[in-house]
Amino acid sequence: MATTLLRQHLIDPEVCIRCNTCEEACKPKAITHDRRNYVVDFAKCNGCGDCLPPCPTGAIDTWREVGEAYSVEAQLAWDAVPANAAPAATGAHETGIPDDVARLEEEASRSQGGRAPPPWSAAHPYVGLYARERPAIATVVGNHRLTVEGSETDIRHIVLDLGKCAFPVLEGQSVGVLVPGVDALGRPHHVRLYSVASPRNGERPNHNNLALTVKRVTADLQGNPVKGVASNYLCDAKRGDRIELTGPYGDSFLMPNHPGAKLLMVCTGTGSAPMRAMTERRRRRMGLHEGGRILLFFGARRPDELPYFGPLSRLPADLIDVELAFSRSPDTPKEYVQDRLRARGEDVAAWLAEDDTYVYICGHKRMEAGVLEAMADVCAARGFDWSVRREEMRRAGRLHIETY
């Protein structure tokens, strides 16, 4: 999965003296004020920078990378730029998630109903080891198409080698990709987050590498043609190309180490990346006979657009139980993941009733409502209340949702 970080121009109300020079200088009239604060309207700011030199205080030179731009109203109410939003420019290897990424993650996991702790048996994650100012440098060692050549959707499996650079990632974590150059307005491109598709010991075990699942974006959410900057950059990458990474990020959407834990996964499209990482982790440990099962609901438009379809179908049945749903398949009736969830209602409800079950939902925002509704229905049919169960599971670190 991929998400975008926006670079937002703000004014630091603790430093600003309301002298009005910025508003005076702002041609697109993006800067406004009330009795309290001067603020920049993200939608109107064209990044021309005319407001920067006249500012006597430096308050104007405030930038944040955010998942969702702060509204004018929110900014007008500030006493200070949100405290935990310090830019990751300090240089030192700070741990902890930068606020920009935290906001992105919060956005992605909003329908979870609040922050979830990681599973109790998850390994401890490293977060934020690398930032924009000092990224990790990875080399492309593999880039192959997962979807059938000629199909509309171009989804790729990209393997990055990190050489001697320490970049520890866990299944479910993501990395930031920095696209070189600047956008049409001369600003550096936003950081894009991609979930890691390989398990913790790498795509090729013990070679310090990781894999990403990247879909080439050719249209926006409304279907208008648009060329995704980062996705096209990654999909076009050749072996040997150098890619700058930030992160790793994510300290909640992690898999349990506890061998008996059962994983109930629901995903669409490239939301399969973390599922693939977790499944692969389990597959590699099958010889240990640790137990624990996986139930996967996976949706795509057509079989030829379903990433990892081939390898998935070859996985042993005692490891994973796979339900596929195709919404545009010429051979089968239109089906969504929630339809498969309902069809397997008995099993799903039984799994949700157990204390060793961990639920992971990842994919398009528009699938989320349907999936949660289906879960509520199957629980109701078994006589328990999903809304109560869901909250219990979230608080126990057993429900993780990332949608975009």
Binding site: E14, V15, E24, A25, P56, T57, G58, D79
Partner: protein, 474 residues
Amino acid sequence: MSIDYASKIPNNVDLGSNKTLQRALEHWQPRYLDWWREMGPEGSLAHEVYLRTAISVDPKGWAHFDYVKMPDYRWGIFLTPPEEGRTHAFGTHKGQPVWNEVPGEYRTHLRRVIVTQGDTEPASVEQQRQLGAICPSLYDLRNLYQVNVEEGRHLWAMVYLLHAYFGRDGREEADEMLQRRSGDADKPRILGAFNEKTPDWLSFFMFTFLTDRDGKYQLAALAESGFDPLARSTRFMLTEEAHHLFVGESGIGRILQRTAEVMKELRTDDPAALRAAGVIDLPTIQRYLNFHFSVTLDLYGSEVSSNASIFYTSGLKGRFDETKIADDHVLTGSHYDLSVVEGGKLVTQSENALLTLNERLRDDYIVDCQAGVDRWNRILEKGGAAQRLRLPHKGFHRKIGSFAKTFVSPEGEVLTEKTWNERASAWLPSDADHAFVQSLMGRVAEPGKYAHWIAPPSRGIDQKPESFEYVRFA
């Protein structure tokens, strides 16, 4: 004789095309430099100062930072580029094209406005000339010098208008600007507040926060002028003025931050204990605020003023943010509420809006000051101090206008002269206060070091680190 005047006097007014004007200003320039050497910052001529210089008026070019010896600073003439088709925004000429020449009937009024504004600029440089010797850091010293050179440039802006549009009278007035001296009994500066002393940095910060803010409001009112060269001059000056307000607001803010830190550390708000610990107690800061605020309010003139009315109706000086106000911009028949003392009580009186424009500008100014004081109070709040600063009532300690003969406390109670005098020492800085503040004023001039009584700034100038050498001494 081929002198490149354009480079001698940087300008964006095509000075080269008007030889007479060029020559006149060329004569004035050495006199200005003489004045700077005599009355500019003391002992500073050879210092290299990290200054912001305007090299053009577009946003990209006007904040150029580099080390400069102040006498070599490129004082020049910069006007905001003309606005195509600009018309009078107010007064009887509303809707007509703005003037690019002085209309004969307003010549005297306009000259007076420009001279009054221009006179304040060198005055404040003179008032501040000794502060360098007691600077709390190189950062602050640099800011002082930046303020000083920009006040100098503001003088240039007004002198240009006098030379370019007022002939011989204008040239004489320009010379007079260099003759008067702040605080001089024989040749004082025109306005009272500009003859007060600025003996210490607390006064300097109060002055830049409060009195330079009067400058902002006067300039903003002139930026609305129908005499376009004046409007364009003052518009560019406003951009520079903002730095001065910043110096004041952040200066006091850093003092408050430091005081709050020590209050927390010692768990006391006892002024004597805090003074012993080497920081400025909040009651002293409040008294300085009361003083500087009240003398600055006097700069706006009488509440009821026929001059103000004439300036407005004739299109010479507008209101603050004139073009953003939603009314008829003529004001005949409109009213404005005044506070006055009547029968020992404060009452509200409705007056003709045209006659009360001074008061309106003063009220707008007070709102802006209050916002700054609120931000200071947030620093106290954040520092854990329970005390707050407050602006005194606008009738407090006034020498000009209807409050001049009244005795109003900072809280707005109307008192008798006797009671007021008995309590005045709690409201205004005493000689002992001045002496104490003066006692803190040791010179700190090592990069990255700050006097004990003031916190370091949260950001450097031009994004420079805290330890940056803002001033290199000769």
